[in-house]
């Protein structure tokens, strides 16, 4: 830790006591524009996700928005399936799988999620692009910020913020569209018919995106993101991360082009500060690994382009591992990764199996909690059950309820004439199962209640329950 953030000090009284302030406004980070391999890679990793986020709601499947979180009716429509509140455990598993995938990737490649695909980074980069288009690159932006207000500054700044707000609005519309229905939302907003809550959330997310990607930026990664805090646990000596090769670079310093610098005891680093100027989290990678670093590779691109100019070998700053820097080799295959891979494959397989075999109808049987286990009437022993049917299918169905028990008993069943459930409906049907008193030879025996869709016999759910009669 050589370059700490400079702290403001204030004198009080006659200079007896000095104070250091522990809260400071962050300095604005001006990122120098750089082209290179990793900038290109980011385009191809972040962009598909970005496009998916913006355009998925516009695609219709089976006449319905492809991804639609219908909160009022508590149904999540995702592509061809519909999930309800009772599928919460699936969501839980999905999040666990995602977490483990993240652990595995981090073990292997460090914080590449942060640097290449995290929305925080992707949106920040979009906003910086807007700055560059309107105000120019780093030096020009710094100059403009210092300059007094005049027409040009108003126009340039205005342009930047207009683009920011447009991106924010598009983001908010897409996001709220997942819950509201994006086509309806756009039409409703345009015709001033939107539900006030919808309008509020669009405004809220527009503002939040604008503030977040415009002003907070790297501070989210530094001070808020919990992932940044525990990433170090997942690193080991073979994790690929951005390192400055100090052996090769030191002693750093400026030099003339044609001097044999090695003879003068100089290293390859010419101390041009490009790696610092391009850094989105405002650190100097040459101080070694720091928790702020998001492995975005911008300093790698910057340093490589400088090395090319100088005619030195590339890779003074590069993605490498601690092992390699200390003269060893990076071991990609290691027990920890095998463990992650095994767990991931097992969990993903189980998850896929669960999703594939989900029955779109579900029944639950509860015995009636009366004062007695059974009722005797008209020479019949009667048991009462409540059958809760949940139609999670996309189509309405009429259901029948049958009882299957011992072949020697004549069961009869009393239930409503029609049991018709619209998609996503849940309904409790009381049924009465009777066996003639003189036939019944068991105090207690198992029966099966079968719930089946009339129009599609494949939609069936069976449940075992007990039939209780008088003591024999």
């Amino acid at each position: 830790m050589s370059d700490l953030i400079p702290t403001r000090e204030e004198q009080e009284g006659d200079g007896e006591v000095r104070y250091r302030m522990l809260y400071e406004s962050e300095d604005k980070v001006y990122i120098r524009h750089i082209k290179g391999v990793f900038t290109r890679v980011r385009k191809y990793t972040g962009l598909p996700l970005l496009l998916a986020f913006f355009f998925l709601p516009w695609i219709n499947i089976d006449g319905r928005q492809s991804v639609f979180f219908d909160l009022p009716t508590r149904q999540f429509h995702i592509f061809w399936t519909t999930f309800g509140p009772q599928d919460g455990f699936l969501l839980g598993w999905l999040l666990i799988i995602a977490a483990f995938a993240l652990f595995a990737v981090t073990t292997l490649l460090g914080r590449v999620w942060c640097g290449f695909t995290c929305p925080q980074t992707v949106w920040t980069m979009m906003f910086i692009w807007a700055e560059r288009v309107c105000e120019g690159d780093r030096n020009k932006r710094m100059k403009l910020d210092k300059a007094p207000w005049n027409l040009e500054k108003v126009l340039r700044k205005g342009g930047t913020h207009t683009i920011w707000l447009l991106i924010s609005l598009a983001t908010a519309l897409a996001f709220v569209g997942y819950f509201y229905g994006v086509r309806e939302l756009v039409v409703d907003l345009a015709t001033f018919n939107a539900h006030p809550q919808g309008v509020f959330w669009v405004a809220f997310f527009t503002f939040a995106t604008y503030m977040n990607a415009g002003f907070l930026r790297e501070q989210v990664c530094k001070y808020m993101c919990p992932y940044a805090r525990f990433q170090s646990v997942m690193y080991d000596e073979d994790t690929l991360a951005v390192y400055y090769d100090a052996k090769r670079g030191e002693t750093r310093g400026p030099r003339k082009k044609n001097v044999d610098y090695k003879a003068e005891g100089m290293g390859d680093c010419i101390d041009c500060y490009w790696c610092v100027q391009v850094c989105p989290v405002d650190i100097d990678i040459r101080d070694g690994m720091q928790y702020e670093c998001i492995n975005c590779g911008l300093c790698v691109d910057a340093c490589n382009s400088v090395m090319d100019k100088m005619g030195y070998e590339q890779g003074l700053i590069r993605f490498t591992s601690e092992d390699e820097l200390q003269g060893g080799k990076t071991r990609f295959l290691r027990p920890r990764l095998f463990g992650y891979a095994l767990i991931l494959v097992a969990m993903t397989g189980l998850f896929a199996q669960q999703v594939m075999t989900r029955s779109p109808i579900e029944a639950e049987i509860t015995r009636d909690r009366g004062a007695r286990m059974f009722r005797e009437s008209q020479g019949q022993v009667q048991n009462v059950y409540t059958v809760k049917i949940n139609n999670m299918d996309q189509a309405p169905h009429e259901f029948t309820i049958k009882v299957e028990g011992k072949p020697e008993y004549d069961y009869s069943i009393r239930k409503p004439k029609t049991i018709y459930l619209v998609p996503g409906e849940m309904f409790s049907v009381p049924i009465r199962v009777s066996v003639p008193r003189d036939q019944l030879k068991d105090t207690k025996h198992d029966i099966e209640i079968v719930v089946q869709a009339v129009d599609n016999p494949e939609l069936v759910d069976k449940h075992r329950t007990v039939f209780i009669g008088p003591k024999q």
Partner: protein
């Protein structure tokens, strides 16, 4: 809350708020010891040998904390939080409850309103209404009458065609609104123990159950002097009084000899609670339609 406790709460709350504020502002800067080397980059705090760097947190972090303090102060002014002080916002939990109740009533009215003037027979034809009715029944009635409305010991079966007070929509509504007081007076003192036994055999004989013929003949005399006043000449009951039909082999209190004797000897009192103060008018209509529709269900042989 007495004045003492009110003051107690106010003092504690405000003192805590002030203390938190002071802690925050007292710790926003740290004094640096001039004796230490000028390159010293720590705050001077050492915990178990771990030193604290003086890296500052962002200003907005501090401001967020200040904002929470401002919010608390504002909250305590607007909402009740300081002892007996009610706040200037006139907020009360009762008011909030009533507001959300009013909102709910409005929403219920959207759903139930259209059944308000619809005849019960017509409501019973609507599957939607019957679904709602069955839910209301499950929440309010099933506890006594059973989930299938088939009744329990002492609670009438609502799915058959035997009605104590009548099964027309009007009668069902009347039962639901005002409840019913069922009363079979104790006959033991009136007809004596022998009379009880004989009357029991007669009642058994009316239902075609196993009985003693001689005793039943004696019992018929008892019946014709005492019981027929309510249960009628033919023992078919009287729906004006809620006197059950004694000939249909449907029993509220059991059909074996001891149970019937008990009923005659000691009488029975029964009570259906009035629903008009518990359930909204339109909900009662839906339940009435549901109950009315129950007798139209059919047994299915499996």
């Amino acid at each position: 809350m007495s004045t003492f406790w009110s003051v107690w709460v106010i003092v504690l709350t405000l003192a805590n708020l002030a203390l938190i504020t002071w802690v925050l502002f007292a710790n926003r800067k740290v004094a640096v010891d001039d004796q230490a080397e000028p390159e010293n980059k720590t705050t001077g705090h050492v915990y178990d040998g771990i030193e604290e760097y003086d890296n500052p947190l962002p200003k907005w972090w501090f401001m967020l904390f200040v904002a929470t303090l401002v919010f608390s102060a504002g909250y305590l002014v607007v909402y009740p939080g300081l002892g007996n002080f009610k706040g200037f916002g006139n907020w009360t939990s009762v008011g909030a409850l009533e507001a959300s109740q009013a909102k709910a009533q409005e929403r219920f009215h959207e759903t139930f309103g259209k059944y308000e003037n619809m005849p019960i027979e017509q409501i019973a034809q609507s599957p939607e209404a019957l679904k709602m009715g069955s839910r209301i029944f499950a929440n309010n009635c099933a506890v006594c009458h059973g989930a299938d409305a088939g009744g329990n010991f002492g609670f009438p079966n609502l799915t058959d065609n035997a009605w104590l007070y009548g099964g027309t929509p009007e009668k069902i509504l009347e039962t639901l609104y005002n409840g019913r007081q069922g009363m079979m007076p104790p006959q033991g003192p009136v007809i004596g123990e022998e009379g009880v036994r004989n009357a029991t055999e007669y009642v058994l004989s009316l239902n075609g159950l196993e009985h003693d013929t001689a005793m039943a003949a004696e019992g018929q005399k008892v019946f014709n002097t005492v019981c027929m006043a309510c249960h009628g000449m033919d023992a078919k009951g009287n729906q004006m009084l809620g006197a059950p039909n004694l000939t249909d082999d449907i029993w509220l209190y059991g059909s074996n000899r001891e149970q019937i004797q008990h009923t005659i000897r000691g009488g029975r009192t029964n009570m259906m609670p009035a629903q008009k103060d518990k359930l909204r008018e339109d909900k009662i209509r839906l339940v009435a339609a549901y109950v009315y529709s129950l007798s139209q269900q059919e047994e299915e042989k499996q």
